[in-house]
């Protein structure tokens, strides 16, 4: 079936099977910043924005994004670059596998809640796993980034 959506501001038409998931569709058309971690709606590495809301692309049927806007980290490059400076300063930048999804989550958090408490930051990012760090460094980086410190 033909699915039309706007990917990072560009119109796309993709031929997919009815049971295909967005993660596989995006990777098949070359968007490799979207990572396949658990492929079971648990790790958060495949997060993308659909109509500005962060979702696990491994668990969204591609057919369901017909007519919608899909954004990946490529859309928020400047913001992601800035965030990654904070990440490296805090030693939160290790293998990098989870970073693109993390950046999208921080972007979405900032939009929804520009001045989150530490607890609100943790609650928002809880579904994005990182197997390198212990989350403390990321927590600090995100806190400082959002507060512009």
């Amino acid at each position: 079936m033909l699915v039309k959506f706007v990917l990072n501001g560009v119109n796309k038409e993709v031929n997919v099977k009815p049971g295909d998931y967005l993660l596989d569709t995006l990777r098949s058309i070359g968007v490799k910043s979207v990572k396949k971690g658990c492929d079971g709606s648990s790790c958060g590495a495949c997060t993308v924005l659909v109509d500005d809301k962060p979702v696990l692309s491994c668990s969204v049927l591609t057919a369901r994004v017909n007519g919608k806007h899909v954004d990946t980290v490529e859309t928020i490059q400047e913001e992601a670059a800035k965030l990654s400076e904070y990440f490296s300063r805090e030693g939160a930048d290790q293998c990098g596998f989870c970073n693109a999804a993390f950046a999208l989550m921080v972007h979405a958090l900032k939009k929804e809640n520009p001045n989150p408490s530490d607890e609100e930051i943790s609650n928002y990012l809880v579904g994005n796993l990182c197997r390198c760090t212990g989350y403390k460094s990321q927590q600090k980086a995100v806190q400082k980034y959002l507060r512009g410190e």
Binding site: S41, V55, V60, N66, M105
Partner: protein, 259 residues
């Protein structure tokens, strides 16, 4: 998941006709469980166009469309202002917001999932389910009836009223399924609910009878709860441990709603 076709229906009639056409045709909620289950589906029936994504305050009840996401439920001012925001709080502990932006209220309820936090907290209130074609059923009745009703769940309606409420999810790590969840509400009467037993949530009728007949000894109420609570073992923990947890949290919850 394998599916032969995906149809975003434009009417109830169309959805129901498709559902009845084959046992392999399935109504899509958020689609999360369908993926995990590795299902072989003929036609996926998508209800996104049927205007079911609304939470409305209807004077005596709150009406929630079945396609409302868990995240929309969580952040809704209507839900936050009901019973101290307990439903919002319960939902907020389910995975991350990127998961809750997909999972739907209808999918969570219809599936009668044992681990469901949403079912447990809703069962602590008077909740009526609306199905298409015209059929109303209380959430309690739906859970107690074996199998799945063969209509389409369109709305859940929560009866309003001043209530104090308590919810506790016990899990080993924050992203894990609960090994037990407890919900208690106190309005004119008490409702005491335990879920993730690992079976689906149930009201504790003898405990409620004790409390609703004037019983004020919460330790005793918790003992009655443990005695009547039916639990089982699962990979995560033993039934006996679930009973010990229930005892603590039923008592604590009763204290909480009486503050």
């Amino acid at each position: 998941m394998k599916a032969n076709s995906f149809v975003s229906v434009g009417s109830w009639q169309e959805a129901y006709k498709l559902l009845k056409a084959s046992p392999k045709n399935k109504i899509l909620g958020g689609g999360l469980w369908l993926k995990k289950g590795n299902a072989q589906v003929d036609t996926l029936i998508d209800l996104s166009r049927l205007n079911l994504n609304k939470i409305e305050d209807k004077d005596s009840f709150i009406e929630i469309g079945s396609m409302v996401t868990q995240r929309e439920l969580e952040v809704s001012p209507i839900i936050k202002s009901f019973a101290g925001g307990v439903i919002s709080e319960a939902v907020s502990k389910i995975m991350g917001p990127n998961f809750r932006n997909i999972a739907t209220v209808g999918g969570s309820i219809y599936g009668k999932y044992g681990f469901s936090d949403l079912i447990t907290v809703l069962l602590a209130f008077d909740v009526e389910l609306q199905f298409y074609p015209a059929k109303k059923m209380s959430l309690d009745e739906y859970l107690k009836t074996p199998g799945f009703y063969d209509g389409i769940l369109t709305h859940a309606r929560i009866k309003k009223g001043d209530a104090k409420a308590f919810f506790k999810k016990v899990c080993i790590t924050s992203l894990d399924y609960p090994i037990l969840n407890v919900a208690i509400s106190k309005a004119k009467t008490y409702k005491v609910v335990v879920g993730s037993r690992p079976l689906v949530a149930t009201t504790l009728d003898k405990t409620m009878e004790y409390l609703n007949n004037g019983g004020t000894d919460f330790k005793k109420a918790a003992e009655i709860a443990v005695e009547e609570l039916k639990v089982g073992d699962s990979m995560a923990t033993k039934g006996e441990y679930r009973k010990q947890l229930a005892k603590v949290y039923v008592e604590r919850g009763l204290e909480e709603v009486n503050k």
